[in-house]
Amino acid sequence: MKLTHSFGAFALAATLALPAFAQDTKVIGVSIPAATHGWAGGMNFHAQQAVDRLEAVYPQLDFVLATASDPAKQVNDIEDMMATRNIDALVVLPFESEPLTSPVKAVADSGAWVTVVDRGLAIEGIEDLYVAGDNSGFGKVSGEYMVSAMPDGGKIVAFRGIPTSIDNERVAGFEAAIEGSGIEIIGMEHGNWNRDDSFVVMEDFLSKHEQIDAVWASDDDMAIGVLAAIEAAGRDDIKFVLGGAGMKEMIARTRDGDVMIPANVTYPPAMIATAIEMTAVGLTSTAPVSGTFVIGSVLITQENAAEFYYPDSPF
């Protein structure tokens, strides 16, 4: 629904704009996963914001935004953009690396600019610009915070996301950072970046373990489920829960000094906006933007939380 609407609107805009800019109008296709969880919802919001803003700034640019609910749909979206809109550049956040690699390569082979965001493709060197989140850095910053918050070590349980390379890199970074610190992971399960799943897993962790000193929830949606389970069980052995990704409700609680949520680690969904902006700059100016741009994960504590609070974002 959303897709056809966007396509329709842009197609209409393109038709209207065609006489005036027939010669020098360039089309940027943006293909992203649909808002199936909180982080993706934030990413969709920022993509839409960036497109709206850039269309006003650059009259010579047209944007096609498509959201896909699965990898196959995303492949179709990209093929449609190639066939019907003759895109000059593609900004893509691949649903999964493998299935998207060859369609994106076809776009690159046609001579269009390709910007890949967050998840890398299976073959290196296809994209002109790679705007990447730092997943192993995300795990490392989280682990380092755990070590600093628990100088004497302790027992923690850890929550993983949906089994993907993103999740593996985060966990590997985390485990490397806490190695030798005396912090022991006594339980690790997949909460699938989902509140309900994490609630259920945390209930079971609380039944299984008599003493848990802290929780690495690794994501704010999961942290909300974990906190609800702890509250329901009435347990006071858990000193804090470390989420991640910077959901605004959780940032607000950190800012307001909630002892259970003393910190957060960013993995900004707005990186899609960075990618769209840089692509637009590349197409409209002589400024070089090719290469790899890594967006670091930053530790948020009560001191700097206010800077990371975006009231308008749905995430």
Binding site: K2, G41, P314
Partner: protein, 331 residues
């Protein structure tokens, strides 16, 4: 010889057909108890039964739909949409009505009305417009899932913080140490069992599912029975949502994902025939418990890699159904 051999077989099969799900449940409980000392603690049992209640309440309604030869794929999305609607209505009326139980009742009423309406829409399209149940509910599944994403603007709908404190006891409190979701699940299951076994409606549903032409000639109002199964399921989805919203006080596009398949799986594990004609509500309850116990046991033990959780679930589901295999299934 041949006749002597075939005689004991039907009784054996019949026996296993009834005992299959119970046997699987008992085996799971024994495994759980051996694996972890806390498995049979009051806390863990309460957790497992409470979290089973959402799927359980829905699965009881699904038993009637499947018995009458239908199917409903939309229940998970419907639950998410109703949860979102319930939260929006309560948040919206908060300035007018203030924080308190009257507003909670308005929220509950919203859920029941929305569930009834959603069930009616499915039933109307299936019976009056004569569209396949699979297609109708596949369509409404997508519609409700999109609607909740749209209502939440791609994010999460959260209940007002003050209201959350009022509504929380619906999931976490109860009477005599038995939490409300368990009580409601038990009442719905008992009522469902009575209607299925003793009520005319249960017989009619089975007749429609078995052979709707014969049922029609036997003066059963086939369309009305079909319609009532979908409306009943919609109401139960509403009730399940009333239990769900108080737990985390939020709804998003990831709420209720795959609930429809869990509910259908529970119904089939319980011995109801997927093609209709025979339904067993108590079996459905056992099926729901089997599904949640698998997850619980996997969380309480370290033996299995979390990557394999789905595989373990799949094997146990198939085993539970093999135990109650029936001649008809082979033909």
């Amino acid at each position: 010889m041949a006749t002597a051999d075939t005689n004991p077989k039907p009784t054996m099969r019949l026996d296993l057909k009834v005992m299959g799900p119970i046997l699987a449940l008992v085996v799971l409980v024994v495994i759980g108890a051996l694996m972890n000392g806390n498995f049979l603690s009051a806390g863990n049992i309460t957790n497992v039964l409470s979290r089973s209640a959402f799927i359980g309440i829905i699965a009881v309604g699904m038993t009637f739909v499947i018995t009458a030869g239908g199917l409903d794929l939309s229940v998970g999305s419907m639950a998410a949409f109703i949860a979102g609607l319930m939260i929006l209505v309560m948040n919206g009326l908060l300035p007018v009505m203030g924080v308190g139980w009257p507003l909670v009742f308005v929220g509950m009423l919203t859920a029941i009305v929305a569930g009834t309406a959603a069930g009616f829409i499915n039933g109307f399209l299936i019976t009056n417009m004569r569209i396949e149940a699979f297609i109708v509910t596949l369509g409404t599944m997508g519609i409700y899932r999109s609607l909740v994403t749209w209502l939440a603007d791609g994010g999460t709908l959260s209940l007002d913080f003050g209201m959350r404190a009022i509504i929380r006891p619906i999931y976490f409190d109860g009477i005599l140490g038995i939490s409300w979701p368990i009580i409601v699940f038990a009442l719905v299951a008992i009522l469902g069992e009575v209607v299925m076994r003793r009520g005319a409606f249960g017989r009619h549903a089975a007749a429609v599912g078995s052979n709707d032409q014969v049922a029609r000639y036997s003066s059963v109002n086939v369309n009305r029975v079909r319609m009532m199964t979908y409306v009943g399921l919609g109401v139960l989805v509403g009730i399940a949502t009333i239990m769900y919203v108080p737990r985390l006080g939020s709804a998003s596009s990831s709420t209720g994902v795959l609930w429809e398949l869990e509910a259908i799986a529970a119904v089939i594990i319980g011995g109801t025939m997927l093609k209709g004609g025979f339904g067993r509500v108590w079996g459905t309850v056992i099926g729901v418990l089997i599904l949640s116990l698998i997850g619980n046991i996997l969380n309480l033990t370290d033996g299995v890699s979390p990557y394999l959780n789905g595989a373990v679930q799949g094997v146990i589901i198939i085993l539970a159904v093999i135990l109650q295999r029936d001649k008809k299934a082979e033909g």
